[in-house]
């Protein structure tokens, strides 16, 4: 599995989004291009989960709008991100169950009072496998 490549601007954007939403979980969509693909755009969306302190939901309409806009700019959706305001950046069981093949899931977590950003992808057996994060 290749790394998740993030521009430094993209990384800063999703960290800022996580900080702004704390104690709620933030969420959004990772958009990029290239081969291997690199995330150069972070689309922050509203968390539609009924209990946003304990989960996240991205509305289908937000996803549709992002896909449409990305295609017009010759980009594609590479994955999603959300935050764990009070726990490490490891996928929960709900995160695992909702993960789609081929997508990167970036999590901004809190570990020993420090923010960490890690990425995960769904493995062949449905398990979440960590994907190295490279910041360019």
């Amino acid at each position: 599995m290749g790394p998740l490549r993030l521009s430094s601007h993209a990384l800063a954007t999703l960290q800022a989004h996580a900080a702004a939403e704390r104690p709620r979980e933030c969420c959004g969509i990772l958009v990029g291009a290239g081969s291997p693909p690199a995330v150069d755009e972070v689309v922050a969306v509203t968390n539609r989960h009924p209990h946003p302190r304990g989960g996240y939901t991205i509305a289908a309409a937000d996803l549709a709008a992002t896909l449409r806009a990305a295609r017009q700019r010759r980009r594609r959706v590479l994955g999603f991100y959300h935050s764990h305001p009070q726990s490490p950046a490891r996928p929960s069981e709900a995160d695992r169950a909702a993960a789609w093949d081929g997508m990167s899931y970036c999590i901004v977590g809190e570990c020993a009072e420090r923010s960490e950003v890690r990425s995960w992808r769904r493995g062949a057996a449905g398990e979440m496998v960590e994907q190295p994060v490279e910041v360019a």
């Binding site: 290239g34 289908a60 549709a64 789609w100 093949d101």
Partner: protein, 392 residues
Amino acid sequence: MTTAAPPAPSPLPELTVAELRRYGRHLVIPEVGPDGQRRLKGASVLLVGAGGLGSPLALYLAAAGVGRLGMVEFDQVDESNLQRQVLYGSADVGTPKLAAATARLAEVNPHVEVVPHAVRLTAANALELLAPYDVVADGSDNFAARYLVNDACALLGKPDVFGAVHRFEGQLSVFWAAEGPCYRCLFPEPPPPGLIPSCAEAGVLGVLPGIIGALQANEVIKLALGVGRPLVGRLLLFDALGTTFRELALRKDPDCPVCAPGARPELVDYEELCGSAPAPAGGDDGEAPWEIAPEELARWRGEGRDLQLLDVREPFEQAICSLQGARRVPLRQLPQRLAELDRQRPLVAYCHHGIRSARAVELLRREGFQAINLAGGIDAWSRQVDPSLPRY
């Protein structure tokens, strides 16, 4: 010596040692050099048609190291093609052109990625097909495709490297609405059906598409490199009998229906107008139709016909909208998940715009399924049958 060029990828891909060895004769040319070769490697070109013009185009672009070569072609190799379509040999007769072309090009240059699109270019799929590529080279043999390529390129702002051949005469130009005239500035509307004979009816000197196709490849390479003076605003005419070239200056039509300021073009399928459509339902051999229109599928469903619906999109697309009762198997998983489908029942496959599902239908038919593609995909369904489905 630079000129208008489609944007190059940034950063440019690096060259491997094997590629440095292979492209040595390019690397020593100052106008190419290592950076130019990297631009070629980073370039993507879509060839519409893999026939007489598409053959030299594909061979020379692959040999030159153009990184990504898409090919739109749904025909099979016929014995009568071999007189001019030098991508193919006698052993390929009866096989899909794309399969034979992919194998041949891998032999020519394994560093090039060939992307086969086994579909007919239509108004519904043209934008999605063309959008991922930097340059489009039109090697089609009919007016329907020619107008569609021009219109889609104008809408997307991409250069259309145009070539055409007829008996002993060839034409060449680069239609790039952003930089000059487009094909419609010359010929606003297609000719009526039957006025212009097809290649099969009129004949063509076998070497002629070789000459014009190679000149098209030259224009593509110049555009990718951003060097030289592309054939924008000029129409080159070649007469093989007199061995003469003539050049006509072309002007942008201020009233062009496609590229004039304020024009609001919509893509149209010109098959009926041009008289070049394939049989709408089944081929001459009585084969079942490959495509079904959304309205027709709606009628089938309304009648309660027994059929399977197969959604081959990715899960994140399926989350946005889907058709009720569809089984969801992304295209990339389809070969491993055929057992989930019923070979005895008719199957209609769909995706976003009908391109991935066309590939799925090809695969399924090879495996013995009665598969049909939903023309235009769920996007067309949303536009024509159920506007409540969100479009994306």
